[in-house]
């Protein structure tokens, strides 16, 4: 099942990447990043079947980091919403060279 799990992980990762690149809603972009992290977790779990529990330990850390990122990221999104009343990346364009 290893090859299938890795292929699935790759597909989910790329769906996440496509989400980040094609969506303009900051919250959905952020959720796409979460999908990427989930895809990586699947790889780690698949590998941990081969090499021992290290992969699973890594997944626990990834979850912790995802939670921390969610807290900070959503605080940033709220703070920009206070200024601009939108989370659409197309309308958030004060900084242009």
């Amino acid at each position: 099942m290893l090859a299938e799990a890795l292929a699935l992980s790759g597909v989910l990762f790329v769906i996440g990447v496509i989400g980040v690149l094609t969506r303009r809603n900051a919250i959905i972009v952020f959720m796409s990043v979460e999908l990427m992290l989930n895809a990586v977790n699947l790889s780690f779990v698949a590998f941990s079947k081969l090499y021992g529990a290290t992969g699973q330990v890594f997944v626990i850390f990834v979850m912790t980091v995802a939670a921390a990122e969610a807290a900070v990221g959503l605080a940033i999104i709220i703070s920009i919403f206070r200024h601009q009343e939108t989370v659409n990346l197309k309308d958030i364009n004060l900084l242009r060279g």
């Binding site: 626990i60 979850m63 939670a67 605080a75």
Partner: protein, 181 residues
């Protein structure tokens, strides 16, 4: 591992949950409404949790449901509701031609990636015998994960406390009301 006894049933479920996760992920990136997208992402996460359990990572499966789907996604939904973004925005937020071209290229990259991944043979001498993995004779399922977590990776575990402290402090600093000067 179940697949010695019920190989067909095992692989049927494996593919079933795999397909569910892909379908839900595609639904997730194509939904306009943030709430619908979040719900589809939760479906993906549940399907992945099922896969984790099937791959002998029961503890991770539980964590996936409790932490990812249960806590992180709830925070997302909470923010969507807080900012009142629940309705799909009038303007489609999907990028135009360029976005789709990039997406097309990425699809090709994906194909190459999967070919490489599934075909590259792994070094079998590195593989730890299955008996040593997760089924720890004394600690049970969780003991197999807890052992390395509190021995080899103790430092990483301690460092996550700093990480969480930074995240909490940062979120508070950003979220606090502006002082009235």
């Amino acid at each position: 591992m179940g697949n010695e006894f019920l190989p067909l049933l095992y692989s049927f479920h494996f593919y079933l949950f795999g397909l569910i996760s892909i379908a839900a992920a595609i639904a997730f990136v194509t939904r306009k409404s943030p709430v619908a997208a979040a719900m589809w992402l939760v479906v993906t996460m549940f399907a992945l949790a099922a896969l984790y359990v099937m791959m002998d990572a029961q503890f991770i499966g539980v964590m996936q449901v409790l932490v990812y789907a249960g806590a992180i996604m709830v925070v997302f939904l909470f923010v969507v509701m807080l900012l009142n973004l629940g309705h799909p925005s009038e303007l489609s937020d999907i990028r135009g031609k360029w976005g789709r071209i990039i997406a097309g290229f990425l699809g090709l990259a994906l194909l190459a990636e999967i070919m490489t991944l599934t075909r590259s043979p792994l070094e079998l001498k590195l593989v730890v015998p299955a008996i040593a993995v997760s089924v720890n004779s004394t600690g049970g399922i969780i003991g197999g994960v807890a052992g390395p977590l509190f021995r080899e990776y103790l430092l990483a575990f301690e460092l996550t406390s700093i990480l969480l402290l930074v995240a909490i402090a940062g979120a508070v600093v950003l979220g606090r009301k502006r002082s009235a000067n």
